[in-house]
Amino acid sequence: MVLPVVALLLLASVLLWLIHGSNLAVGEIETSDQRIALATLIERLAVDEETGLRGYQATSDPRFLEPYHNAAAPMAQAVAQLRSMATATPVHLNAFEQQHQLWHQTFAEPLIDIIGAGGQTRDIDLNITGRARMDAMRAELDTIVNNSEQQRTVRIAAWKAQVRDVITALVLLALFIGLSIGLFTRDRLKAVSAAFRKSLDLQHSRAEALFRSEQQLRTTLASIGDGVIACDANGRIQMMNLVAQELTGWPEPEARDRPLEEVFHIVNETTREPSENPAAKVKRLNRIVGLANHTLLIRRDGSEIAIDDSGAPIRNEAGELTGVVMVFRDVTIERKTRAALLANEKLAVAGRLAATIAHEIHNPLDSVSNLLYLLQQGSDPEESKDFLRTAQSELARVTQISRAMLSLYRESKAPVPVDLKAMLEDLLLLMERRFHDLGVQVTTELPAEITVEGFPGELRQVFTNLIANAAEAAGPGGTVTVRVTPRPAGLDPSGRKLEPGALVEVIDNGPGIPPEVREHLFQPFFTTKGERGTGLGLWVSQGIIRKHAGILTLASHTDPADRGTTASVFLATKPTIDPGGD
């Protein structure tokens, strides 16, 4: 950028200098012209003087001398002027003046004097002298004019050359400026074009990235294992992935722009009432919603599948809701697996209980069979009486155990009143042997008349599980306390509203549960008992208590001073049974 400007300035100054030179040349030409003019004027004046003198000579009339006298002053002035601008010509001017003076002194003045005196002026010599003087004067003036003209010609040539130079310079300058502008413009154009190309490239790459990310998103959605349906803000379907199409039975092209509830027709599993339109629910709550449990999806062909689903709002940059995305999956197999696991745990519990019961029955049976053998072998009446009494009491023990066992798996379809005291006492009786083996002391605080509604078999399973856990945790020399307390309606520590009911606590003074184990307690297949446990006990218990609309919590301390675990089960007196709770 700087170089052209400097060059331009340089050229402009060169041009200026040339124009200045040209001006000077013109001035000098004018000077030459003036000198020619002055020399011509002087010559004419000299002619005037001579003409006047000739007239006077011819007529002797002094009036004819007027031009002669009048020429003197302008001639002196012209000579002075010419002298002032003289450069190389003072020699000729001096010569002229000298001749002029000589002419005056030697010819004109004497002639005038002669004529004035009335004399004759026909003297040839005098006239020849005068004429010679005048010729010399003219010669000098001609030289001056010639010199000046020569000078003028030279100067004009010089001026012409200068003008040519100026034109050349102008042309060069114009060319240079044109070139500079051209180059500069080209440069700018290049820059603009580069910038344009760059932004174009950027646009291209952005568009490509966008396309790729969209492709990726599409592929992800298509290959995701869950059904995905996206709706606009009005709940009209915009997109469905393959799984969603398979689960609903609606191909995407047909489903598009239809209201969600028409394609995604869901009802409650138990009541068969239509569930709230998930899109509407998300819109209403404006947040992610897990949809109601136990939802059945009614497919296009009328068949039904159990699903788990959730809905989430789609927001634009301003945070406004622009749509809803639904994610759902078929949980039929999961349900079946869950049911199988529950049955398995029930069997395991039953199996463990059966072993306990077998032990409980085998012991008295052993005594009875031994006593019968002794009686068979023959003994005295006193002894026989004693044997019979003992056998009788042992059989009574068997009966008691078998009764407790009978009530254990008598299951009803509807919830029935359960006397907590009676139920827990039965359980503790059946488990007495286990406590004995473990060396655990069991104490109870069981007030009578605490009844809750529920499924007795399931509640027994829960309490057997909790009490067995507590006994194992307490270990030899430990104690387990089973306590039931009535609970009036109120609020729990977390502020949740509680219905009236009962709190069953199973407290042990075992080593407590380490925090890292505590968080896994309610997970299926988590066990600390190795092969002796199924790892399903607490998970199933949790499910049963939930079904009873109750709350099962575990609190544990590992601090040696105050160690132990408390399992608390809250059961409402009249719970709203959640049939899907297990």
Partner: protein, 127 residues
């Protein structure tokens, strides 16, 4: 039924069962020592010239398997009969004793097992 005067140690936490078993074995001609748990059983085993042991499996504090193990460590030649109300005991327990039987199999079976156990001199190697 040989009328020997072998000394048999019975260990069981079931009071009634233990009492009846003692009478049964005494009628069969054995001298009987009884203990209500593993610890006192081991004590008697150490201090008396016991010829055979009838051991209950499930007992508080120390189960029959542990008691049998300790007995084997001090007097490996004394035959042990393990009685249990449970079925399906761990293999390492049943391998430790000479005879393993379930409660309720009846008095004749018990007497038969005890007798045959005592009549084999190298009883501990018979398993």
């Amino acid at each position: 039924m040989e009328n020997t005067s072998h000394l048999v140690l019975c260990v069981d936490d079931e009071v009634v069962g233990l009492r009846v078993r003692k009478i049964l074995l005494e009628r069969a001609g054995y001298q009987v020592l009884t203990a209500a748990d593993g610890h006192s059983g081991l004590e008697l085993f150490a201090t008396h010239p016991v010829d055979a042991v009838v051991l209950d499996y499930s007992m508080p504090g120390m189960h029959g398997g542990e008691v049998a193990k300790k007995m084997r460590q001090t007097k490996p030649d004394v035959p042990i009969l393990l009685l249990s109300a449970y079925v399906g005991l761990p293999a390492e327990v049943s391998a430790l004793v000479d005879v393993y039987m379930t409660k309720g199999e009846g008095a004749p079976a018990l007497l038969q097992n005890l007798c045959s156990m005592l009549s084999v001199p190298a009883a501990s190697q018979s398993r």
